[in-house]
């Protein structure tokens, strides 16, 4: 079977620094793969390269069997970027933003039924009643859900998400997990960058851990210790930062480096 995402010997350099090297990653149909790692380990760079925002300096990326340089069936792929808090200049409604998810590849004009399709996606994330609100009137968590709805609008077979729950309020996180569970049951393939597994833990079938731009773990998802599962767990003790490959893990120590994503 053709892999959904196929990354071979990928290297990415930004400016003078080599952010990723020797990355091999294959995601097959129906998998839910979590991409974990400390801040600055290259998680975002990897997904941004997979969806074609960044150009690899070596190696190759294929989506649904087509190299990025070729004719990728973009309507089957939904990308959710990390939320940017900076609002753009002109006001735009949630429905307008979600509607832009209906454009892909060479489709430069909205379909006739774009409003109902955008509303359907908004309903999936529980924001239908906010369709005509300006995005600046929504909370951070709701803005993030708008971005998820934008990716869902085209009814993708694959979703690639970059820290979808970072800085998102608890009810939005739960709503997000519920939405993802339903979609995965319907056969969605997912690659998701996470800081910690959190509410998505039951869904994740495989975890890939990045460290200093290399994959250091690819296999069973790490299980967080019970006292780490709580939302308000305050992480104060230091961790051994190296992740042993085969030793059973209780805590990977990602959350000790709280700070800004580079």
């Amino acid at each position: 079977m053709t892999p959904v995402i196929d990354v071979t010997d990928l290297e990415v350099t930004l400016g003078a620094s080599r952010i990723l090297r020797g990355i091999d990653l294959t995601v097959t149909n129906g998998e839910v793969v979590a991409l974990l790692g400390a801040n600055g380990s290259g998680k975002s760079t990897l997904v941004r390269t997979i969806v074609g925002i960044l150009t690899p300096s070596a190696g190759s990326v294929s989506l649904l069997g087509t190299p990025l340089t070729g004719d990728v069936p973009w309507q089957r792929i939904g990308y959710v970027p990390q939320r940017v808090s900076a609002q753009s200049g002109v006001p735009s409604t949630a429905r307008e933003v979600v509607g832009s998810g209906l454009l892909y590849g060479r489709r430069l004009r909205l379909p006739r039924d774009w409003k109902s399709r955008a509303d359907e996606a908004l309903e999936t994330v529980g924001l239908l009643d906010r369709a005509t609100f300006a995005t600046s009137e929504l909370s951070g968590g709701q803005q993030q859900r708008v971005l998820i709805a934008r990716a869902l609008a085209r009814r993708p077979d694959v979703m690639i998400l970059d820290e979808p729950v970072a800085g998102v309020d608890q009810p939005s996180q739960e709503a997000f997990a519920a939405t993802m569970t339903r979609l995965v049951e319907q056969g969605l393939t997912v690659l998701v960058v996470l800081h910690e597994l959190g509410a998505l833990a039951p869904l994740v079938t495989r975890a890939v851990v990045l460290r200093h731009g290399r994959i250091v773990h690819d296999g069973a998802p790490p299980r967080a210790a019970l006292d780490h599962a709580g939302q308000d767990h305050d992480h104060v003790h230091p961790h051994e930062p190296m992740v042993p490959l085969y030793a059973p893990q209780t805590d990977l120590g990602f959350d000790n480096a709280s700070g800004h994503q580079s």
């Binding site: 941004r48 074609g52 002109v90 006001p91 454009l103 590849g105």
Partner: protein, 315 residues
């Protein structure tokens, strides 16, 4: 003479007819392009293109003079179109690189454009008055030929600006998402740059190269004060643009003032008035100004928790 007959007289004046049509086209096209520029935080792009276009005008003069064309300025607008397109595409390519030196590159382009224009204009035999006409507008010199060219350029601007609205919105709202959707992002960015360049040359006769940017940006700024959606912002901005252009130009029919400056001052006054009134008008229809975040604490269903709390939030 009554006001109406004065109006009728104004509309029957062929010079005024041409000027009004030009003003109408500028008022319509400039805010449409301006909406995209404001969205991408490139409000001053029009200004930069205007500077570069002056070199094109002067080159047009120079070539016209060399070829012995009469009148000398016959190639001014084509020159401006070519220089503006080259300039705007260059600016777009610098922006795409996202280098820190891009800022300096833009400054070089802007000031090189205006200095080169002034210098070449002098060599081509243009007078101070000619220069002022391009910098601040000279709507009384609009010929039928200019008008036809303006009309063609406006049609192109409208076709791209409205026809590709959804795609241009997507790229302007979130360029990375557009890339991750496989949209032809570079093509769309260059389309915006070219359309902005054409708008600058369309508006050159009416408000002049130094004030072009105001007509692209100020109507959008006015519209933003009252709207929630991108589509409505663009609509309101064009209404404001057309109104200030036509009214401003009509004022100059009776009073001897600069049309370009009058139009821009009118637009800014409109902004001031709307900014003062909008909060009073919109307060009534807006909901609770606090961000829509559920409570972190659980309130007892009885006691001090008020039942109508949710209703006021969603009203």
């Amino acid at each position: 003479m009554t006001f109406l007959s004065e109006l009728a007289y104004m509309f029957s004046d062929p010079l005024m007819q041409r000027a009004l049509i030009a003003a109408l086209l500028v008022g319509l096209t400039a805010p449409i392009v301006g909406t995209y520029l404001v969205q991408r935080r490139l409000s001053l792009l029009g200004d930069g293109i205007g500077h570069v276009a002056l070199t094109g005008v002067a080159l047009g003069w120079l070539v016209g003079a060399g070829m012995g064309l009469v009148p000398q300025d016959r190639l001014a607008i084509p020159g401006a179109v070519i220089a503006a397109i080259i300039g705007s595409v260059a600016i777009e390519l610098v922006r795409e690189r996202g280098r820190t030196s891009g800022d300096v590159a833009l400054a070089l382009l802007f000031y090189g454009g205006i200095a080169g224009g002034v210098l070449l204009m002098g060599i081509a035999g243009g007078s101070q008055a000619n220069l002022t006409a391009y910098l601040f507008g000279s709507i009384s010199t609009v010929t039928t030929g200019d008008l036809v060219l303006t009309l063609i350029l406006s049609v192109i601007v409208l076709a791209v600006g409205l026809g590709l609205r959804a795609a241009l919105f997507s790229v302007s709202y979130d360029e990375e998402f557009a890339k991750a959707s496989g949209l032809p992002v570079r093509f769309l960015n260059i389309a915006v740059a070219i359309v902005a360049a054409l708008t600058v040359t369309v508006a050159m006769r009416v408000v002049g190269l130094l004030l072009v940017s105001a007509l692209m940006i100020v109507p959008v700024a006015v519209a933003q004060l009252t709207t929630r959606s991108f589509r409505r912002t663009m609509q309101v901005a064009t209404v404001v643009g057309v109104t200030v252009c036509v009214v401003g130009l009509s004022i100059t029919y009776w009073y001897n003032v600069s049309p370009g400056a009058t139009i821009v001052v009118l637009a800014i006054i409109t902004y001031g008035i709307v900014a003062a009134i909008a909060p009073i008008v919109t307060r009534r229809r807006r909901h609770d100004p606090h961000p829509d975040i559920p409570d972190d604490v659980d309130l007892e269903p009885s006691g001090t928790a008020r039942k109508d709390g949710d209703e006021t939030c969603n009203a």
